[in-house]
Symmetry: C3
Subunit: 467 residues, 3 copies
Amino acid sequence: MLNKFRFFDSNSEVRKIAWDLYSKVKDLPIISPHGHVEPKLLAENLPFPDPTELLIIPDHYITRMLYSQGISLESLGIPTVDGSSVEQDHKKIWQLFAQNFHLFSGTPSGVWLKHALEKVLDVTKPVNEKNALEIYEEISTKLKSSDFLPRTLFEKFNIELLATTDAASDSLEDHKKILDSDWSGKVIPTFRPDAVVNILSDNWKNEIDKLSSASGVEISNYKDFILAIENQRKYFIEIGATATDQGVQSPYTHKLSEGEADAIFTRAIKGTATIEDGKLFIANMLMEMARMSCEDGLVMQLHPGSMRNHNSKVFNKFGLDKGCDIPMQTEYTKNLHELLNKYGNNSNFKFIVFTLDETSYSRELAPLAGHYPAMKLGPAWWFHDSIQGMTRYRQMTTETAGFYNTVGFNDDTRAFLSIPARHDVARRVDSNFLALQVSQHIIEMEYAHNLMHELTNGLNYEHTPSQ
Amino acid sequence: MLNKFRFFDSNSEVRKIAWDLYSKVKDLPIISPHGHVEPKLLAENLPFPDPTELLIIPDHYITRMLYSQGISLESLGIPTVDGSSVEQDHKKIWQLFAQNFHLFSGTPSGVWLKHALEKVLDVTKPVNEKNALEIYEEISTKLKSSDFLPRTLFEKFNIELLATTDAASDSLEDHKKILDSDWSGKVIPTFRPDAVVNILSDNWKNEIDKLSSASGVEISNYKDFILAIENQRKYFIEIGATATDQGVQSPYTHKLSEGEADAIFTRAIKGTATIEDGKLFIANMLMEMARMSCEDGLVMQLHPGSMRNHNSKVFNKFGLDKGCDIPMQTEYTKNLHELLNKYGNNSNFKFIVFTLDETSYSRELAPLAGHYPAMKLGPAWWFHDSIQGMTRYRQMTTETAGFYNTVGFNDDTRAFLSIPARHDVARRVDSNFLALQVSQHIIEMEYAHNLMHELTNGLNYEHTPSQ
Amino acid sequence: MLNKFRFFDSNSEVRKIAWDLYSKVKDLPIISPHGHVEPKLLAENLPFPDPTELLIIPDHYITRMLYSQGISLESLGIPTVDGSSVEQDHKKIWQLFAQNFHLFSGTPSGVWLKHALEKVLDVTKPVNEKNALEIYEEISTKLKSSDFLPRTLFEKFNIELLATTDAASDSLEDHKKILDSDWSGKVIPTFRPDAVVNILSDNWKNEIDKLSSASGVEISNYKDFILAIENQRKYFIEIGATATDQGVQSPYTHKLSEGEADAIFTRAIKGTATIEDGKLFIANMLMEMARMSCEDGLVMQLHPGSMRNHNSKVFNKFGLDKGCDIPMQTEYTKNLHELLNKYGNNSNFKFIVFTLDETSYSRELAPLAGHYPAMKLGPAWWFHDSIQGMTRYRQMTTETAGFYNTVGFNDDTRAFLSIPARHDVARRVDSNFLALQVSQHIIEMEYAHNLMHELTNGLNYEHTPSQ
C-alpha cells in the first residue's frame, strides 16, 4: 500500500508542513500542457488490449532498464522495423517483467508503476515472480470493463486539459474527431516542426511533401516553406493549439539572410546539403519560430541536448524511441544569445526552455530566466522527471530565477496510465521543497500555500494567451 | 519577525548544534574584504535620499527579477544612458515593488531585504500592496535622522574593515578624504585593472589616458603601460590596499614575449587589435599581475566566467550592471595551468579564485586549491551567494580542499544596507554545515568551534601580509 | 572514540533504519576488486618500518593537503627524483603532521586516519601536537609485533579478495610468489597497459622492450604489439586476473585501420609521432582492448579525465603521484559512441566506466549504463570516494541507472591500512542512502536489505566470469 506521506522528508515537522501544503492541491485538476499521448487513443476510445501492451511494450523507460540488464528487446515483444519475429506471448513477457521488478527500485518508473497499479488498476499485491500471472489476469479483466476506457480514465484522472505533440504536417484528424464528438474532454495539439526542419534526415523530402499537402502550399523554395509553416500554425491554432515545441541537438540560434536560407533549402532539395547546412538551417528556424510566435502568440517550447538513437544496432532493428537517446553537454548562454537579444524582451513572446544538462540550471538557465521577460524554465525533464531530479531542479533554480519564472509541471508522457502518478509526484516534491523552506523560515506558510497553488495549476505559461 | 533559528536544519539536534556554533560568532565584527560600496558614500557621509533610491534603483538583483516578470526598467526609475525620461515618482516605484514582493520568495534578495527592513530599519510590518506607502514613510523619516548616516550605520554594523573596488586609474580621492578625516572607520581600496587591460573596449584609450595621468607615466608602449600599472599598485598600497581583483570572461593565462605584447599593444593603440589579440592580452596580463603580486605582496583575486551585458537592448538603454550578465561554462585546469606552474608554489603569492560555474567546485577548483600553496577558493559568488548556493559550495569543496584552503566570506555588494544580512546568512549557513558534520560524527565539536571562528574572521587571505 | 552511528543522517528514524541495514553487512568480507597495494607487500610479508613510512610519506592525499598549506614536501620526507636530501627524521615529520591534523577536518583522509588509528592500531588518544610522539612510539612498538604483519592484517581485515594493478609488461613475480607460498590469501593482478599505449611518453620504447621480453614477442610493428598484448593478457589470466584497467586523459574511442595504426606505431618507434598520433593511438587501443575483452572475458575498466602532473615543479623534483593530478571536464556520450556501438550490446563484455567529472553522472553515464547491457558504472572515484561524494553518486545515478547497473565499491588505494576504513565508509553511506529511501517510502525495507547485500558483496562485475 502506498504510504500517505511518501516522498516527504523524514523529519516530522517538515513532513507535517508538506502534508498540509500537499493536501490543499492533491485533488486539483490535472493540467497537462506537454506530452506524447496519441490523440487517436481518445478519438477512438477503444479498450486497452492487455497489461503488457498497456504497461510494458510502449514504455521505453521500462524496456531500456530491462535491456540494460541483458534482457533482449525481442523477448519483450518490441516490434521490429523489418517485421522479423519477436515474442508474442504477452503473459510470458509480463512474467519476465515481474521477475525483474527489483531493477526498478529507486527509479521513477518503479514509483509510477506502483501508483498506476494501486491507484488506477486497484492491484495491491506486490509485483513479483509468484504473483505475476495472477496480476496479469486481474488487470486483463478490468481492461475489458467500460470503467477503463481511455475517456473514462481521462475523466477519472480529473484531467482539465491534455496537450498532445503533433507533426507540423499533421492533418489533426484525431483532434477534429474529438472536437466533433459529444465528449467534452479538452485535448489540444502542439505544433512540432522537427521533421520538416531537419533537412539532413532521410525522410525529409517526404515530410516536405506532406507539409505541402497539409498546408495547401506547393513548396519549391524557402519562401514557400516558411509560408507553409505559417499556414499550418494558423490551422493548429484553429484546432486549439496554444504552443509549439522543438527538439534540437544544440540550442544554437542564428538568423540567416533570405538568400542564405534559400540556398541551403535548394541544396537540401537536391540532396547536397552539408552537416553545417543542417545546423545552420535549424539555428535559423529557431529564429523564425520565435518571430512567428511573436506574431501569432503560440508559446515556444525548446527541448535541446539529446543525442538520438545512440545505439545504431537497436535503432536499426527497432526504430526510434527505444531508450537509447543519450543527453549531451548543452550550452545556452552563447547559443540563445541571438534569439534572446532579438525577441527576449518582447511582451508578446513566451519561450519555455528545457534541459537534460542539469549543470545549466544554476549557471545559465536560472540567470537567463531571471532576467529576460520572455523566457521561462520548463520543469525537470525526462531523466530528471523524478523525485531527486525535481528536487535538484528547485534547489538550483529557485534562488536565482524565483518560482515565478518556472512553469508548472508537465508529464511529457506517452504512458497514459502514469499521468496521475507523475503529477502526484510533482505535487509531493514541490510541497516537500516548500515545507523545507517553511521549516527553515525562508518562506512564510501563507506564501507557501499560494506558491503551491501556482506551481500546481497557476504557472501554465504554455497556455498564456498572447496579448 | 525573523526567527532566531532561521536557515538551520529542521532536525532539532542539528538546529541546537548550529545555534551553539552560530551564537559564538554572530556578534563578531564584520570583515568585508571584497565589495562594491562607493567610497564616496563614507567620504561624504550624506543621508540616504529615500527608500526607493536606497533599496531598489541601484540593486540589480531586485530590478532584474521585476524586469523578468514584465515590469519595465523605466517604470522602476532606472536612469537611462541618453537621459530619456523614466519614472520619477519614488513612492509609485516603491508601491510597484511592494505589490511584487512575492516574486522574491525563496531568493536571497528576499532574505536580505527582510533582514535590512527589520534589523536595520526596524520595519516589522510585512511588505505588501497595502502596507507599501506606510512603510515608505516610516523609512523616509528614519533616513533623515543622524542614526542612519552611512558612517553611523558602518559602526552600528560593527564593520572592522571594508574593501572597495577601484579602477586602476582611480585617484582614490574619496579614500584619501576618509583617511584625512577624523573618522576612524577602516575603508581600503582594491586595485582593479579591467578597464585598462581590455584593449577591445570602446573606452580603452580613454582609460589609458586616465592611467597615464594617475600614474604619472606617459604611456606610449607596452613597457610604459606595465610601469604605469606597477606605479599605481604602489600608490594603492600606500592608501591601504591589500589586494587586486580582475574580472575576465575566461581565466586563460599565458605569458607573451615582450615583443608580442608590445605588438598587440601597438595594434590596440591604432585601433586594429583583433579579438584574438584581446584574449591574449588579458591572458598575458593575468601572468603579469601574478608576477607583480609575488613582488609587491598584493593578494590576487580572479572573478571569471561572466558574459557581461547579454541583453544589448537593456545595455544600450541603461548601461552596465543591469542584471543581464550571464554566467558561462568556465574551465580552470587547463586555463590556469601556466600561471599556477609559474607562481603557484611561490610562498609570497596568494591567489583567490572565484567561479560562477559550480561544476568546477569539486572537479577543478577544490583539487587545485587542495594542492597549490598559493591558491585559495573564494566564497560562493554572486548568484551562488545564497543559502543553497553556499551549502553546495561547502558540500562540493570541503572534502577535497578542506576548510583551510577556502577564504572567509565576502559580501561583494554595492547595497550597503544588505551587508549585515549577507554576513549573517553566511555565518548561519556555515554553522549549519558544521552542525550537520558534528551531528554525523565527522567533525568533533571542539574543532567545529575553532573552524567557525576561522570561517568568520580568520581565513581572510585577502589581507594576509606578504612575507 | 568513533561513534557507532557515524555518517548516518541525524534524523532518528533514518538513523535507526540505516543502522539496521548496515549491521547486516558490516562484518561481510571485503572484496577489493580494484586498488594499488603493492603485491610485494604481501609476497614478502615484512613488518612496516615506522608510522611515518606507513601512514604519511606514501599517501599523496595526506601530503598534498599539507603541501597546499605551505609545508614543503622535503620537510615531509618525500624522496626526490635526483636523490637530493629530504627530512630523514621520521619523528619530526610525524610531529609536523600531528600539529596540522586540523587541516583534515571534514575530509575523507581525516575519516580514514581516525579509523585506522583506532580500529587497526588501537590508538584512542586524539592526534595533536602534544600527543604526537607518544602516539608515534605506541604505533612503532605495535608495528614490530607479528600481529601487524601485512598478511596478518589482511586476514584481520577479512579480505576475501584483493586485486592489484600491474603494468602490462609485468612479470608478476610477486603474485607468483604468493601463489606458490603456503598462504591462502587471494591476491590477483589487473592488466594495465597505460605505459605501452602512451606512445608519446619518454619512457615508451623502454616499456615496449619490457613488453617484448615479458610476452616473448619481438615487437617491431603494430601487429607484433597487438600479439604481445594478447599474450600478456593470457598470462595475467593464468595468474588469476579477471580485469583490465586503463587510465586515459580523454575517453575518446576510434578504431584505426591496420594500416593507419601501423603507420603511427612506426612513427612512434622513430620518435616522430605527433600529439594527434598519440590521441588516435589511445582511442584505437581502447577499441582493441574492448575487442580482446569480448574474446578473453577480462572485464574492462576505464578511468578517464585526469590531467596528470599538473605541477611540473613538483613532478620534476618528486615524480609521479604527488597530489598534483587534476581532473578535467570529460565527455562520454560522443567519445564512447564508437566503442559502445560496436561492443556495448555484446553479452560477453563487461565495461566499467569511472569519472572524476560528477556532471557526467546524471547527464551521460547513468543514461548510458541504463541502456547498454555491457556498460556499468564504477563507484565514486578518487576525490569523490568520500561521504558526500558517494552520496552525490547515488543521488545522481540511481533514478536513471538503478542500483544494478552500478558495481560494488572498490577502495582504489595504495594505503593498506585504510582499506577497512574505506569499505566501512562505503557501507555506511549506502546504508544511509537506502535508509532515506525507505523512510520516504520509495523503497520497501525488504528490497533495501537485499540491495544492501548486493551493493556490498554482490555487484562485483569486475569478477563476473565471461560466458
